[in-house]
Symmetry: C2
């Protein structure tokens, strides 16, 4: 066998020389913060729930069978990352998804998570409302 000059990695080490830099420094950190906020089961559940429409904290707490404070704390994390909207309506404070980006992120992740099986071409059908 002839002696080859290790074609494995070396030819591609352009990465080592061309220092990769993001256009907007800090964008990665912000994006990571967003993912971190979404990277928790209960919190992600909350987002999918809000994807169905606005809801107040009490309503959510009842639906999830959790303490009011717990839900509020979860919403705080999501709020700090700008993932949810918030508006007062009388006594209640209604929460919702901040924008379409958030809905898209959740959708894509669920798509990837469910990969291999089933048809999840339509977002709404990902959720089942059972009476």
């Amino acid at each position: 066998m002839p002696k080859l000059i290790d074609p494995a990695c070396a030819p591609q080490d352009h990465l080592a020389r061309q220092r990769v830099a993001l256009v907007r420094p800090g964008a990665i950190e912000r994006a990571a913060g967003i993912f971190r906020a979404m990277g928790d089961g209960p919190r992600l559940r909350l987002l999918t729930l809000l994807g169905q429409g606005e809801a107040c904290v009490t309503e959510i707490a009842t639906a999830e069978g959790e303490d009011l404070s717990t839900i509020s704390q979860r919403l705080r994390v999501l709020r700090n990352e700008g993932l949810v909207s918030r508006r007062r309506n009388g006594k209640h404070i209604l929460y919702g998804l901040a924008d379409q980006h958030v809905a898209d992120l959740v959708f894509n992740a669920l798509a990837h998570a469910s990969e291999g099986r089933a048809d999840l071409s339509r977002f709404p059908t990902l959720i089942t409302n059972k009476e």
Copy 2:
């Protein structure tokens, strides 16, 4: 002021009755796992780097100025969530993004993170290679 029956939250409490259930139980947990893996600056950097093409561990470690072991550990987390591909080529092991879903997720998050300013309609331009 007339006495109204608190139009605030009650009318929408369909959420409290119609128990929300995901089609595929566990999909949310899996998706949360994916987000959790992406929810770390250094790890997300790694993904954007791999978005540029395959690379071996040594190459990445050099580019990031980190220890080989550190990079390997980060890759392990990403691998456990199925976010990266891995193949051996001679002495080296080349890592890459697992699929388009992952690239999309990273793109959407960066888009949301950079919201308000700039045009990031084109993904490749999000990254700048400076000599």
